[in-house]
Amino acid sequence: MSSVSFRKLEKNYGALRIVKGINLEIADREFVVLVGPSGCGKSTTLRMLAGLESISGGEIRIGERVVNKLPPRERDIAMVFQDYALYPHKTVYENMAFSLKVRGIPSAEIKPRITQASEMLGITQLLERKPSQLSGGQRQRVAMGRAIVRRPQVFLFDEPLSNLDAKLRGQVRTEIKRLHQAIGTTIIYVTHDQVEAMTLADRIVILKGGEIEQVGTPDEVYNSPASVFVGGFIGSPAMNFAKGTIRGGQVMFDGGAGIPLQGHLALKPGGLEGRDVIVGIRPEHFMPAGEGHALSGQVQVVEPLGSDTLIHFALGSSMLTARVAPEMRPSPGETLSIGVDPSRIHLFDAATEKALV
């Protein structure tokens, strides 16, 4: 087990800069998720750490070793690939044993290691099968088993759940978390799915355009997003955004409605006076009418989800979504009166889109 650090890590393809000087320290035994949209550089960063891509600049350390020029086999890492990359002509046992055989580990030691890993993952009955005889979820487990038997310093996961259906994804996600709790090895996990990031990570690293947008615990990135991008990326349904201006201790929307600044936001209203802002409100922070600060808008679409209801409504020129109690079922076209907790809104600078408070 080991720590990992990226210092001014860069990756360029000709003039195209994919990763732009990332600095990140990952502690021993930590579960860090790199998350971001397609093309943000998350997979490239992971592949540079694995040694599957050369680095254009900066430094990567695993433990105390600088691994910039080391081939993958000398980095003491194990990787679970997006397509699992199981050797199709080998049985599950042979797949799991391959890396151990290559490293010259005697058969007497290989067998108990595979038995232990396969019992942990519940794949003991699959050991004699070929990958083509396995379901997607079973292949996923075998890929994890292949990584586990190695007992590496760091596990790398490259979008490992993206080929599974929604139900299976939930199950395997839980298994990965259980696995980390059991073995405690450092895990670096890449995904574009914010739910995976929130549920699995000790810390989330949000990437955008090859740069780190924010690093924090799931609570931190959810409750204190550093930018409009993070606010919109983390949370489902996504955070609502509406343009407004700070006037007299309130944020005023273009339709004339306003929300008073409270809590931590009220601490520097003087400094923000007259400033154009983007207001972020999470759908789940709306309240029934009569609670919090009242807002009203015209209902556009109502989506009952069973556990709760999503109401899409117009506030001035902005479309907002509120997640409310399931029994609240306004009709489209109706004027909605709804409350919002002023202490839970987020303010971002309209020009830089960075958090103001």
Binding site: G51, P71, L86, H89
Partner: protein
């Protein structure tokens, strides 16, 4: 009353008409399959099944166009004659030897060429083109070109040997050297075909398998034997089947290079069939020889297919 009978008439016509047209325009899946396969089946019957049946039938006949005697049924006479014919045994042995030398030779060189062509070149087309050219060249052209290469006085091979201080060889005067020259030419000509099939196989192996092997700690050589070679097996078997069948039918290259000489030392079974049927017009015996070659090709194909099934 008149209206009613008119209606009945129209309905009947519609029913029968609908049935016929429906079956033709909207056939069932089975009927459609038969309809689509029909042209190919007819064509195959016409150009393969009928000639093969006719060939087998002719092999049981005494049919020599030079004798002026009409064809008579000869039973197994042509086949027993064959067993006592030393030229048949010599040409068959030459054919088998050419197959045993050139097929593995072309496989090894084709594999090396395919691995090279699969390297991440910035510009791929010159590599692919250099693979395609020997394959696209007609066999007789290749034979003529290499006959000049191996020419004892003006050939490039002897010229290079002399420059290296080695005395040149009169290639086509010696049975062994002539045979070697033919085998080298066939390997050059056919390894590009092997390379193209193996290259297609190589490109179906996902890159992530090599990345996984890299992470697992396997070096390049181990990756080749543990990943590339096992996953190429289907492509290799297909290439071997095609190449072995064409090797058993070798004709053009020895024909253009040596005409089977010196003597009949480099003659192949196909050349002997050609000699009997085209030069001597002995269609009965020539057909019997062709049936043996056909059986040999089918036998080899069956062995390969059984190997695939057994290991699959």
């Amino acid at each position: 009353m008149a209206m009613a009978s008119e209606t009945t008439l129209v309905t009947t016509r519609n029913e029968s008409g609908t049935k016929w047209w429906t079956r033709f325009l909207d056939p069932s899946e089975g009927t459609l399959a038969v309809l689509l396969l029909m042209p190919a089946a007819l064509l195959l019957t016409l150009i393969i099944v009928y000639p093969v049946c006719r060939l087998i039938w002719t092999s049981f006949q005494n049919l020599s166009l030079t004798s002026g005697v009409p064809a008579t049924f000869a039973g197994l006479e042509n086949y027993t004659l064959m067993l006592e014919d030393p030229v048949f045994w010599e040409t068959t042995w030459n054919t088998v030897l050419i197959t045993l030398i050139t097929v593995p030779g072309a496989l090894l060189i084709g594999m090396a060429l395919a691995l090279m062509a699969n390297l991440p070149f910035n510009v791929k087309w010159p590599v692919r083109l250099s693979l395609l050219i020997p394959w696209a060249l007609p066999l007789s052209f290749a034979g003529l070109i290499f006959a000049w290469f191996f020419h004892s006085e003006y050939g490039v091979v002897n010229d290079v040997l002399r420059r290296l201080g080695i005395e040149g060889v009169i290639w086509f005067n010696s049975a062994n050297w002539a045979f070697a020259a033919i085998c080298l030419t066939i390997i050059w000509k056919t390894s590009s075909f092997m390379a193209l099939i193996i290259l297609a196989g190589l490109q179906t192996i996902p890159r992530s398998l090599y990345e996984a092997a890299d992470v697992d700690g396997a070096g390049r050589l181990r990756q080749f034997f543990e990943i590339t070679l096992p996953l190429l097996k289907p492509a290799i078997v297909v290439a071997l089947i095609f190449r072995t069948i064409t090797a058993l039918q070798t004709f053009d290259i020895p024909f253009t290079m040596t005409r089977g000489g010196p003597g009949t030392s480099t003659a192949t079974l196909a050349m002997y069939i050609h000699q009997n049927t085209v030069d001597f017009l002995d269609l009965g015996y020539g057909s019997a020889l062709a049936v043996v070659m056909f059986a040999l090709s089918m036998g080899v194909t069956a062995i390969y297919l059984r190997m695939i099934r057994a290991k699959g």
